[in-house]
Structures are given as C-alpha cells and as structure tokens.
C-alpha cells in the first residue's frame, strides 16, 4: 500500500538533487565569466524569490496585488539601516529582520483585501508601491542623510568572512533562495497552502469550513512581503550593490507580475521559469540584434520589440494556458515520458491518466 502521507516523493528529491548539483557544482565549474553571475544568475535568483512572494499572494491566495517592488524597497533599505545601525545582528540576522519589516508593511497594505477584491484591490495595493518609495525619499534618515541619492551597499560579511566576489555572492543568493523556496513549497503543499487556495477558489465555502478570511489573507500578504523584502535586500546588496529608491519603481513590480503570470499562477517552479524567461529574453533579443542584424536595428527598437512580445505572450498565455510555462513544462515532460514508455524503454512508466 502507498504511504498515506509523505512530504516529499522520490521524484521531488531527485529534482532537488539535480538542481543542487547543477547550481553548486556544474555552474561554478563551467561558467567562469563574471557577466553570467553579476548580470544573470544573481538577479535571476533574487527576482525568482520576489516572484515566489507574488505567487503566494496572487497565485495561491488569489489576491490581485501589485506592489512587490515596494516591499523589496522596504527590505533593501531596512537591510542597509540594520547593517549600519545594528551591526551586531550580522548579515543573516539583518536579512531576516529586513524580511520581517517588509512583512509588517505587507500586513498594513494587505488589510484592504478584506474589503475590496479584483482590480480594485490591485489599485489599493499600488499604495504600498508609492507610499514606501515616497517614505524613503522623504525622510533622509532612511538613506543616512546621503545627499547623492545613490548609496553604496555595505560589503557582505558572514561570520567574519567577506563575500564580495561574484561567485561568493551567487552562493549567498543561492543559499537564501534555496532555503526559502523549500519553506514555500512546504507551506504550499501543506495545510497553509490549502487554506490559501480555498480562499482563492471559493471564499464563502472556505469560511464555512472554519478558514478565517482575515487571518488567511493577512498571513498571505505578510509572507509574500517577507519574501519580497528578503529578495529586495539581496537584489540591492548582491546585484545593484547600491541603494536607490528609483530601482524599485512600478516597472519592477510589473516585471514581477509578468514573471508570476508567464511562469504559471499557483506554482513555485513557475516563479523560476518566469523569472528566467523575462530576464533572458532581452538578452536573447540583443544577441539576435547584434549577431544576425549586426547592429542594424537600434537598441531602443529592440527594447520596444521586447515590450510588444511580452504583451502578446501575456495575452496568449491568459487565453490558452493560464497555468503558464510551468504547465507547458509539465506537459512536455508528460509527452516525453509517454513516448519513451510506448517505445518500450524499460523502467519508465507512463503516468496513469485519470478520468
């Protein structure tokens, strides 16, 4: 008989092992150029983490929120001030507290979700985006009265060891992202995630089963903001290496929203797929522009083309595959598996199709 409950199936453990080997051993061995770490892998991990935050509130709990970048800014500036003013906390401690500070903002700006929903909630949550950025700009204390507007982020020091090379920073981001991703998966698969999805799918029935709408929604906003806050701190300290409120503008919020939707609402791995796509696609377009057309196309046109394609993709996915690229990936795996099994390769069983 199958065990009634297991947190992780064998498949999950294999997936995790493959990801770990790939990211810890293979990538550092084969990729030596700094560009890959500083411009692709590090922002990818940071933004994927923020996208998980967006997933929790939007994909799992069904609350249309738009303001991830605001919470990222809160996390980033909290981190800067904590390292500056409370050096005893250390990097990891500051990171956690920054996340908690962002979570407090999440609770505050999640409260409208109790009264309004859908597009109105989206507008209400925009307040977080503008309020947090405004607050940081308005009160000099947050920037330590730096007049230049751009503050250099402090060096990352963990247990007395500096983490300043791109590779070291990549490992910092990787460690944080891995841990938080595993925690998110545990929540999503456990009773916490079921409460979120129950509220998303039918709130009145959820309430009749004893799921508190207030607690569940506020909890989702808080956890979401925590993820965004930590992601924002990493984004500022490992990727930008500077702090400026402008870096966390509404455009970044939209980017994270696109990553969430293209990756697939209500999936954790979709966050990584979506983030990779949105980050790599412009790189690919630039490469095509430079190598195929040899720079004949202006860079501004390329970036416009990029916007057009993103827009089109959003529409196409919303209509034909609301579950996004994560679902496409699942389908692909499924079809490969059934092809392999029908061609008689031993050891691979095609999944039993349910009625």
């Amino acid at each position: 008989m199958k065990p009634v409950f297991m947190t992780y199936t064998k498949k999950d453990l294999i997936n995790l092992a493959v990801c770990m080997v790939l990211s810890v051993l293979i990538i550092p061995t084969f990729i030596k150029t700094e560009y890959w770490y500083t411009s692709i892998l590090i922002p990818w991990l940071c933004l994927a983490l923020a996208t998980i935050g967006q997933q929790i509130v939007m994909g799992y709990t069904g609350q249309l929120a738009l303001g991830a970048a605001g919470f990222m800014a809160a996390g980033a500036f909290a981190m800067f001030n904590l390292i500056l003013r409370v050096p005893d906390l250390g990097f990891v401690g500051s990171l956690i507290v920054s996340g908690l500070i962002a979570a407090a903002f999440g609770i505050l700006f999640g409260l409208p979700s109790l009264k309004v929903r859908g597009i109105y909630l989206m507008v209400a949550t925009l307040a977080s985006q503008f309020f947090i950025i405004w607050m940081i700009d308005k009160f000099g204390w947050f920037k330590n009265y730096d007049s230049s507007g751009i503050i250099t982020a402090q060096d990352i020091v963990i247990l007395g060891k500096p983490f300043t090379t791109p590779l070291a920073m990549y490992f910092v981001c990787l460690a944080v992202t891995t841990i938080l991703t595993l925690l998110a998966m545990n929540m999503a698969r456990g009773s916490t995630g079921r409460n979120w999805m129950a509220v998303r799918d039918m709130d009145i029935a959820a309430e009749s089963m004893g799921v508190s709408l207030l607690r569940t929604k506020v909890q989702a906003f808080a956890i979401s903001a925590f993820y965004c806050g930590v992601a924002g701190a990493l984004f500022a300290f490992c990727y930008l290496k500077s702090l400026e409120p402008v870096a966390f503008d509404i455009k970044l919020s939209f980017k994270i929203l696109f990553m969430c939707i293209l990756g697939g609402l209500g999936t954790i791995n979709g966050a990584f797929i979506g983030a990779a796509f949105i980050l790599l696609f412009p790189v690919l377009l630039n490469a095509i522009g430079n190598n195929v057309f040899h720079g004949a196309i202006d860079a501004t046109i390329i970036s416009s083309i990029e916007q057009v394609i993103f827009g089109l993709l959003m529409i196409i996915f919303m209509i034909y595959e609301p579950l996004g690229m994560a679902k496409l990936w699942e389908n692909l795996k499924q079809s490969i598996r059934s092809k392999l099994s029908s061609s008689g390769i031993k050891g691979i069983k095609s999944p039993v199709l349910k009625k």
Partner: protein, 264 residues
C-alpha cells in the same frame, strides 16, 4: 421505523427563533421558528422562492437576519458568522456547489479538516514532526471519507473537471470531514438521476446512523424527503405552514394547497 437507532433522537440542538429577513423591500423570511433535534434527519421543503436557502444562510451566518436569533445547544449565538458556526460544530453544503475548483478531491476534503489542524504556517514551513503527524491523521480521516463515499478513483482529479453528481458527493465529503455534529445540506440531490439520488440518500442515512450526525436538508423530491426524514418543516412565502412527521405533513391541508395550488 422498525430498526433500533444507535443514536436516539435527543434534545433540540439547533433552534431558529422568530427569524425575519428582508432584502430591501422584499421579505424573504417572516417571523419563522422551528427546531432541529439532535441526531435527527430534518427536511426543509417548500415551493421555489419560499426562503429555504435563505433560511440555511441565516443559520450559517452568511446572511444577517433583521430579527430573531439562532440557538445552538440551547445557547443563543451572538454575532453569527460562518466561521463561528463552523467552530461550534455546524457544517454545510451549498445549492450551487461551492467547491475549490482548482484543487483535487482529496485537497477539498482536507480543507474540511481545517478545524482539526492546529499547527501554524511556520511549523508547516519547517515541517516539524507534529505537523507530519497531524497531516497524516487528517489524510487518513479524509481517505476514510473518500472510501466511504466510494470516490477513490477520482481523489486526485481537480474538482472542476468532475460531473455535477460527483461534485455534490465531494461537497458532502468536505462537510463530513469537519466531523461536525450537524450538517446543513442545500439540495444535495438536485440535478441527479435516480441512481445517484439513491446513493446520496444511502450516504445521508448512513452518516446519520453511524456517526449520529444531525442532518438538515433542503430537497425538492417529495418521495425522497418523505422516505428519509424524521421530521419536515414546510416554508411558503417565508412562513412556516407545516411542521411535523412526514405523515402529518402529507395530511396537512395547507401544505397540499401550497404545492397543488388552491382556488380562491
């Protein structure tokens, strides 16, 4: 009934006292009172628009009646909300299906175990041993309900993809998973064929018989109602026009008039 009941019908578990509900100027329920005894199967019947579903929504706290109270085990419940009623041990199904469409059958039923889940999100995130233990117990109970309802083969299917009759079964399963002492069923057999109805009746009676769960159901099929319920309350235009055993109801002239129409 000829057989001996394991759970003897007892004191009133639920009392509806003088409830009046209006939407704007439209009166849905007017000064209605009735009670439900512990361990009984109680049916609420009445023509379309008689206020039956509104009544359940008042009991469950989805609607706030302008007048009247609901008592649970002899105590008036102040500020009724669906959540408070769930905690007191009252569960329900909905007329137009209120399942979690994108979740699997098993997950839907597991949500019904919510009030038996005491671990918080942090403990779940860290997968502490007590979370695993609790999840295991909840899953075992859910699997029991799934095999009781004979829906093992669809337990991993997203509910939205199931036909109507099966969805109704899943909804009953979710209500059962709460281990409530009283379950309100809003038209559990609407849109079902004879065979499905017979199955559903069997489940309702079996639950009532084996677990002693008090059942309150709204149903249109008179044959079914008269067969399975201990007592019936009849609503018409938001008022009680009959209350008693199936035999008494069938002999009640007012009820016959309401259903067949009467010449004035």
């Amino acid at each position: 009934m000829a057989y001996e009941r394991k759970f003897k019908i007892g004191k009133p578990i639920l009392e509806v006292n003088n409830i009046s509900l209006a939407f704007g100027g439209v009166k849905a329920i007017t000064d209605t009172s009735f009670n439900v005894l512990e361990h009984e199967v109680r049916a609420i019947i009445g023509p379309n628009g008689a206020g039956k579903s509104s009544m359940l929504n008042c009991i469950n706290g989805i609607y706030k009646p302008q007048q009247g109270t609901v008592s649970f085990r002899g105590q008036v419940v102040p500020n009724i909300t669906p959540n408070i009623m769930a905690q007191m041990g009252l569960s329900r199904t909905f007329q137009n299906l209120a399942l979690f469409k994108r979740m699997s059958v098993l997950d839907n039923i597991l949500v019904g175990r919510k009030l038996h889940t005491k671990t918080n999100f942090l403990e779940v995130a860290l997968q502490l041993p007590k979370v695993k233990k609790e999840e295991k117990l909840n899953r075992e109970r859910s699997e029991e309900i799934i095999s009781f309802l004979e829906i093992e083969d669809i337990k991993d299917t997203p509910v939205g993809k199931l036909p109507y009759g099966l969805q109704k079964k899943v909804e009953l399963g979710r209500a059962l998973a709460t281990d409530s002492s009283i379950i309100l069923l809003d038209e559990p057999m609407a849109g079902m064929n004879v065979e499905e109805k017979r199955d559903m009746c069997r489940f309702i009676l079996k639950v009532n018989d084996e677990l002693g769960t008090t059942m309150v159901l709204i149903e249109h099929d008179m044959g079914v109602v008269m067969d399975i319920s201990d007592r019936v309350v009849v609503l018409d235009y938001g008022k009680v026009i009959g209350d008693g055993t199936p035999d008494e109801i069938m002999a009640n002239q007012k009820v016959i008039d309401a259903y067949l129409g009467v010449e004035h």
